[in-house]
Amino acid sequence: MSAERILAALPEMAEALGETGIMLLITVPIAVLSAVPIGVLLWSSGPGGPSPSPRLHQVLNAVVNLVRSFPFLILLIAMIPITRLIVGTSVGTLAVTVPLCVNAVAYLSRFVEQNLLQVSPGVIEAAQAMGASRLRTIWSVLLVEARPGLAGSITIMVVSFISYSAIAGLVGGGGIGDFAIRHGYYRYETGVMVVAVLVMIALVQLVQLAGNLTVRRLDKRL
C-alpha cells in the first residue's frame, strides 16, 4: 500500500521539485546580484574598510539586521502588500519568492561582508597604488580574491534554501520541503515523506558537491 501511495505521489513530487527549482532559480541569482553590492558597501563603509563612513555603515547594518530579525513567517505576512505589488498575487510559488529573496539578500550580504574581511589588506593596497578606482578595486581585486569564500557561502545559502521551501507552503508556494511536510507529516504518509526527504538529501549532496568543487577550482592558494 505504501509503495502504491508513493507511486501515486510521484507526479506531484516532481511538480514540487519543479517549484523548488523555480524558487532557487529566481532567488539565488537575485540574492547574489543584490547581496554582493550590499556586502561590499557594508565592508567598505565599515571601520577598517577602505572608505569608512559610520553613517552609511550604521544604516546598512541596521537594515540588514532588521530583515534578519523577522521570523520568516512574519516577514512573509508583513510583505504581502509588497508582494502583491510586485508579482500581482500573494499566493503561489512566485509570491513566495519575494520574501524569500529579501531574506536571502540580507543573509548573503553578511556572508559577503565576512568574506571580504578575509581578503589580505596587502592586495587592496596594491590596487590602490596602481590607481584603481573603487569599483575596479572591488571588481578586479576584492571579488577575485574572495571568490572561493563567496562560492562556499553561496553553497551554504542554497542548501539552506532547499529546506526553507518548507515554510513556503504557508502561502501555497509549494516546493519539495512543503511536499514532504504536507504528505509525511500532515497526512501521515511516512513512505512518501521518506522518499521526499531522500530526494532533498540527494539534492543537497549534489549542491554541496558542486559547491565544494567550485571552491577548490577557484582557490589557487595551494
Binding site: A8, I77, I80, R84, T89, S90, V91, G92, A95, G169, L170, V171, G172, R182, Y185, Y186, R187, Y188
Partner: protein
Amino acid sequence: GLAGGAASDERTISIIATDSPPYHDPLEIARDQLEAEGWRLDVRYVTDIVQPNHAVSAGEADFNFFQHGAYLQTFNRDNGTDVVPLFYAVGSPAGVYSTRYDDISQLPDGARIALPVDPANNGRALHLLAGAGRLKLREGAQVVTTSQRDIVDNPHRYSFVEVDQQTLTQTLPDVDAGFLFSRQAIEIGLDVEGAALLREEDLDAVPYRIVVGGRPDEVGSAKARALQAALQSPRVRDFFKQFYGEWAPLPWAEDPQAQLGQWWKDGGR
C-alpha cells in the same frame, strides 16, 4: 512554559492548546475560575496540529484543545492513538467566500480557489464544493483524508491553491474564492451568512465542533470535570456570543463521544 516531565501533580491541569482567539481567550477566562477553585492551569500553546495528540496520548499533558471531532477521529485511526473527545467547546462553521463574486453560480470556469493546507479542513472545503455539485469526489472519501487527489471530476476546471489557515484571510483578494471559517469572515468584515458563496448547511455540524481531548482515563475525572465547568461557564458563553454573534453554536450539553462515535460509524463524512 519551560515544560518538564509528564502530567503534573494532583491540582495542576496541564493542557496543550492552539493560540487563536477561540482557544486562547476561553482558556484565560477558565484559568481565573479554576484558580479560584484551587486548581492551577498549565497551558502550553503550540502551533502544530500533530504533536498535541501524541503528547496527550504519551501522558505529557492531561488535555488538548485545538481540534474538531472529525480530525480527532481520523487521527486516532491513522496513528493508533486513543484520545477521547471529552466535551465540546464551540462549533466552528465554515464556508466558501469571495471578494470578487456574490454567488457561486458566478464563479467562472477555471477559477482559482484557496483551500486550507491542513488536512483537518482541506477535505472539508472540497466536500463543500462537492456538496454544491461543483465537482465530484471519489465515492466514500472521508472528510479528513480527502485531498485534491480524491477529485474524480472537475467540470469547471477549478484550480486550487493550498495555504495556511491563518493566511486564508490575507490571500482571499488574490483568488477567485476561498475557504474561510466564520470567525475569519467576521474578522475581515464580511457578512458571515450573506457573503458566503457556500456555507456548511448545518451551522453546527457535529464533526466540526471543537472538542477538548484527553486520555480515556480522564473521562469523568475530577480534572476533566473542573476544566469542563470552567470552559463552559457563563463568562465563556459571553465571550463566544461577543466573538461570533448571537448564533454562536455552543452545544455544551451534548456528548461528543456518543455523537462522534455515531458519525464515525456512519462512514465519517
